[in-house]
């Protein structure tokens, strides 16, 4: 079981956790949490590299699905 294999297992675990948490916290919050924690886990550092993907991805998803397409993504306790 190499370090690399551990990374894969942890990722699977995080995705399982995502599936379990998403109905409660909604798409945006859960995704932001996943992105942040997963990137940190994989060794990404620096506020720019951490924040930009989150803002870009979720911002575009929000604008696209909630605004333009009118197909809302699941919301949860916080948003």
């Amino acid at each position: 079981m190499t370090q690399a294999d551990v990374r894969v297992l942890v990722t699977i675990g995080m995705l399982v956790a995502y599936g379990l948490i998403m109905p409660t916290l909604g798409f945006f919050v859960t995704s932001a949490l996943f992105l942040l924690l997963h990137m940190l886990y994989l060794g990404i550092r620096g506020p720019v590299w951490l924040a930009s993907p989150i803002i870009l991805l979720l911002g575009t998803a929000w604008a696209l699905f909630e605004r333009f397409l009118g197909v809302p993504l699941p919301h949860g306790l916080i948003y």
């Binding site: 995705l15 995502y18 990404i44």
Partner: protein
């Protein structure tokens, strides 16, 4: 016919549609240029984005992304010796050599012109051939369709990636996964294990997102250099000049034709097309010694072929529902999301959607070329994204794609399950594309086979007797057996010579 084309041109080339094609082409190029995101993955991730669009808009956008992604892979292949997509692996060999010699722009320009030319040729063939095939397909009966599907599956072994045996096993795994769901005739549930989301079988989009996207996320996480960044070499002028282009005009044409034909074959995709294109260019080349050391001709040979696959792959996909490669399989999801079923009826009942889509591909090829010539410097920056960011981002994009299909949480679990299966299979050397082929074609084959059995029974014939009573069926049976025999021969030859086989990930 001219009337339909004129009306369709009006729809295809109206400003909003063109804008969507352009955006699709640029996004496709960016995703394609990103190492770790294949063209198949690009389309799989973009399909849900087209949700709220009209069918013409949605398909045109996806078409733009398809063309752009297949081209885009060449950018990272040439600049940093890492293929952006499997379709661009063959381009790496000479493309990067040119970059090392300080002629990156020359190679990049070759890739742009070749991709543009190949793409347009493939689209022309699509426009001419598809209506003809569709018209013929209207007369195809169950027995013939069954054997077409069987033939399609058997080409997987003959041409597909990796070991032939593993390719066929993958195809069978796909067939088994395809049985999950409601039995087409009796209505009983098979292998659903109480999961509501599986009542209609594995949804194509969720299947592709899971098998290709999540498995890729896991694959990326397994790799090294999660947080590293790479340097991009400086790029000079992109335009190769007419002299250079004319020197290898035979290669442009030959590769485009090769790519179109390889695209039509269900078992082979853009990656294989690019290898064949390059190899044939080498065979007919006046300067064969240049190959491997930085040959412009080699880059053209590879890139013209892979973009021609776009048009070629859409011929069987649109007319018969049999995808010509993994990307067109993902595009089936795009059709389904807009309430369309691939098949000959597309060209009769939904001609007002399909023809504009095909015409928009001409614009798509033009747009990625223009975007590349104008802004390659900026597009290329996408290779700077660290793998770790990519892995996480693709994971969330996959979740978005899988969930937005029908807002069922079940789909997330299905996606994850298939992702793990796909990852394990990739690590053990099994190609993934045949699995998707099996999932899509399995139910088709079964439905038609049931019909054939019913008919044969009613006529008092045995199954074999019924098959032998029709010339076309006999021909297809022979072709299928021939393909399988060829696969076995190829496998034995490869095992003896120990030569490296084709890449496992495919476009």
């Amino acid at each position: 016919m001219t009337e339909i084309l004129l009306d369709s041109a009006g729809l295809a080339f109206e400003p909003v549609n063109l804008l969507l094609v352009f955006v699709g082409a640029v996004l496709g190029t960016l995703f394609g240029a990103t190492p770790g995101i294949s063209a198949t993955l690009t389309i799989a991730l973009m399909v849900p984005v087209t949700f709220g669009m009209t069918p013409v808009h949605g398909l045109s956008f996806l078409g733009g992304a398809y063309c752009g992604a297949i081209y885009g892979g060449s950018i990272s292949s040439i600049l940093i010796n890492v293929p952006g997509t499997p379709a661009a692996v063959a381009t790496m060999m000479d493309g990067y050599e040119l970059t090392k010699k300080g002629r990156a722009g020359f190679a990049l320009g070759g890739a742009i012109t070749a991709s543009f030319f190949g793409g347009q040729i493939g689209t022309i063939v699509l426009l001419v051939a598809a209506p003809l095939v569709a018209a013929a397909a209207l007369n195809i009966r169950s027995a013939e369709f069954f054997w077409i599907v069987v033939f399609a599956m058997s080409t997987v072994g003959a041409i597909g990636g990796g070991s032939v045996t593993k390719g066929l096993i993958s195809a069978f795994i796909g067939l088994i996964l395809g049985t999950v769901g409601t039995h087409p005739f009796t209505g009983s549930l098979r292998f659903t294990f109480g999961v509501q989301g599986l009542y209609e079988g594995f949804p194509v989009i969720v299947g592709i997102v899971g098998l290709f996207s999540i498995s890729q996320v896991l694959y990326l996480c397994h790799g090294k250099g999660m947080d590293k960044q790479i340097d991009i070499p400086t790029v000079g002028s992109l335009w190769p000049g007419w002299v250079e282009i004319m020197k290898v005009k035979a290669t442009y044409i030959r590769s485009a034709i090769i790519g179109t034909f390889v695209g039509v074959l269900p078992g082979a995709g853009a990656d294989i097309a690019s290898f064949i294109g390059r190899n044939e260019a080498h065979r007919f080349s006046r300067n064969p010694d240049e190959y491997g050391k930085g040959s412009y001709e080699a880059v053209v040979g590879s890139e013209a072929a892979n973009n021609a696959v776009v048009g070629g792959s859409l011929v069987p996909m649109l007319t018969l529902g049999i995808p010509g490669n993994a990307v067109s399989a993902a595009l089936i999801g795009g059709l389904l999301i807009h309430g369309m079923l691939p098949g000959p009826r597309l060209f009769t009942d939904q001609a007002h959607i399909i023809y504009p889509f095909i015409l928009s591909l001409f614009a798509a090829n033009l747009f990625f070329a223009l975007a590349a010539f104008g802004g390659l410097k900026y597009l290329a920056k996408v290779v700077l994204i660290p793998q770790g960011v990519l892995a996480s981002a693709v994971a969330i994009l996959s979740v978005l794609g899988a969930y937005s299909y029908r807002n069922m949480i079940d789909d997330l679990w299905i996606m994850l399950f298939l992702g793990i299966v796909g990852y394990v299979l990739r690590r053990t050397g099994f190609p993934l594309a045949p699995i998707i082929l099996g999932i899509i074609l399995g139910p088709l084959a079964e439905t038609n086979l049931e019909r054939v059995m019913t008919i044969a029974n009613a006529r008092g014939m045995t199954l074999m007797g019924y098959f032998m009573s029709n010339t076309l069926t006999i021909v297809l049976m022979v072709m299928s057996i021939a393909a399988l025999i060829y696969s076995v021969v190829r496998e034995i030859r490869h095992q003896r010579s120990g030569k490296a086989l084709m890449p496992l990930e495919t476009d």
